[in-house]
C-alpha cells in the first residue's frame, strides 16, 4: 500500500494516489499529474513515482 505520508516532510501523499494511478495509467504525463495534485516537492513526488503495489503479489499467501 502507498505510504500515508511522505517520509521526509510528512505531507499526506496517499490522498492523491488513486487519482495519480488512474490518470497515469490513462497515459497522462506523471509530472503534470503531480503538479495538478499539488505535490510539488521532490521528496513527496518520489513517494508516488517510485511506489509499487505489492498487495496482489502478497495476498495469495495470506
Amino acid at each position: 500500500m502507498i505510504p500515508v505520508r511522505c517520509f521526509s516532510c510528512g505531507k499526506v501523499v496517499a490522498a492523491g494516489w488513486e487519482e495519480f494511478k488512474k490518470r497515469t495509467e490513462a497515459g497522462e504525463d506523471k509530472g503534470a499529474v503531480l503538479d495538478d495534485l499539488g505535490i510539488t516537492r521532490y521528496c513527496c513526488r518520489r513517494m508516488l513515482l517510485s511506489h509499487i503495489e505489492m498487495i496482489d503479489v502478497i495476498s495469495p499467501y495470506q
Partner: protein
C-alpha cells in the same frame, strides 16, 4: 513585527515576516512542527484483521491519517480526569470492513461528529475476498515532538528575504543562463530582477560565479531581519489556525517563563 501575506489557502500559506530576529522566525517554525496539540489515533482494539497488513502496519497507517482537530480536546496529561480517559481527552473511532473492497480513511467512523478524517480518500488497505477488518480505535491529543502522527505543520520553513544588488553590469547575460529560477532579465542593457521575482531567489549565488567581471557585478545578499515563510498543514488545522495556534503556544510558554522568573 510586520506580516505581509502572499498566499493563504486552506492547507498552505506563504507570508513575509519582517522586523524580527531569526529566533522568532525559528520559534514559530518549531512550534508549528512540534508544539501544536493535535488529535491522532494512538491505540487500537483489534477484533479481526485478516488483511495482508500486520496489525502494527495497520495501526501505523491509521495513526498517520490526519483527523480534524477540535479545540475542546486536551492532552491526557493536562486533562481534569488525570489521564483516566474522559470525553475531553479521548475520542473513540471504529472501522469495520468486509472484502472485497478498498478501505479508505473516509470509512473510519468517529463517535464525535466534529472530528473526522481530514481526507476521505487515503487508502488504508485493500481487502480481498474473505478478508475482514473490525477494530476500535482510541485517539488522543499529542504533540509533534513525540510522534509524527501529531505533527500538524508540514514542510515549515523560511528563508531570508533575498536582496540581489546589480552594479556596473555590462549586460553579457551569463547570469541569466545560470539562474536556476529564471528570474534575471535584461533591462536597459543591464541585468535586472523585478521585485516580484526577487522573492523567488534561492540565494544559490550561481549568478555571482557566472559573472565575467571581477568583482562580480551581481551580488546576492539578504535581509537578516526579514523572512519568507512557507508552510503547509496536514488538514487537522486550517493553515491560518495553525500559525495562530503556534503563536499561542509560544505566548503561553513565554508567560510561564515570566511566572518562573517572578518566583525566583
Amino acid at each position: 513585527m510586520e506580516i505581509d501575506i502572499i498566499e493563504l489557502s486552506e492547507r498552505s500559506a506563504k507570508f513575509i515576516l519582517s522586523d524580527v530576529d531569526t529566533s522568532v522566525a525559528n520559534g514559530i517554525r518549531r512550534a508549528m512542527i512540534a508544539d501544536v496539540p493535535n488529535l491522532a489515533i494512538e491505540w487500537l482494539e483489534l477484533y479481526d484483521n485478516t488483511s495482508v497488513l500486520y496489525d502494527e502496519q495497520l495501526g501505523l497507517r491509521l495513526a498517520l491519517v490526519p483527523l480534524t482537530m477540535h479545540p475542546d480536546y486536551v492532552p491526557e496529561s493536562e486533562c481534569t480526569c488525570n489521564g483516566e480517559g474522559c470525553p475531553s481527552c479521548t475520542l473513540n473511532l471504529r472501522l469495520d470492513a468486509k472484502g472485497p473492497k478498498t478501505v479508505y480513511s473516509g470509512d473510519i467512523f468517529s463517535s464525535d461528529p466534529n472530528v473526522r478524517p481530514a481526507d476521505d480518500n487515503i487508502p488504508i488497505v485493500e481487502l480481498k475476498e474473505g478478508q475482514n477488518i473490525m477494530l476500535g480505535a482510541i485517539a488522543h491529543v499529542g504533540y509533534g515532538r513525540d510522534h509524527v502522527r501529531w505533527q500538524a505543520g508540514v514542510a515549515c520553513g523560511y528563508k531570508n528575504m533575498p536582496d540581489v544588488i546589480i552594479e556596473n553590469c555590462d549586460g553579457c547575460g551569463h547570469c541569466i543562463d545560470e539562474c536556476p529560477r529564471h528570474i534575471i532579465e535584461i533591462k536597459n542593457d543591464e541585468a535586472y530582477i523585478s521585485p516580484e521575482n526577487m522573492i523567488k531567489c534561492s540565494l544559490c549565488r550561481l549568478c555571482e560565479r557566472a559573472c565575467s567581471l571581477k568583482p562580480p557585478a551581481i551580488q546576492v545578499s539578504y535581509d537578516p531581519r526579514s523572512f519568507v515563510f512557507t508552510y503547509e498543514s496536514d488538514g487537522s488545522y486550517s493553515a491560518k489556525d495553525l500559525v495562530l495556534k503556534a503563536a499561542d503556544v509560544i505566548e503561553n510558554r513565554a508567560g510561564k517563563m515570566a511566572e518562573i522568573l517572578d518566583k525566583i
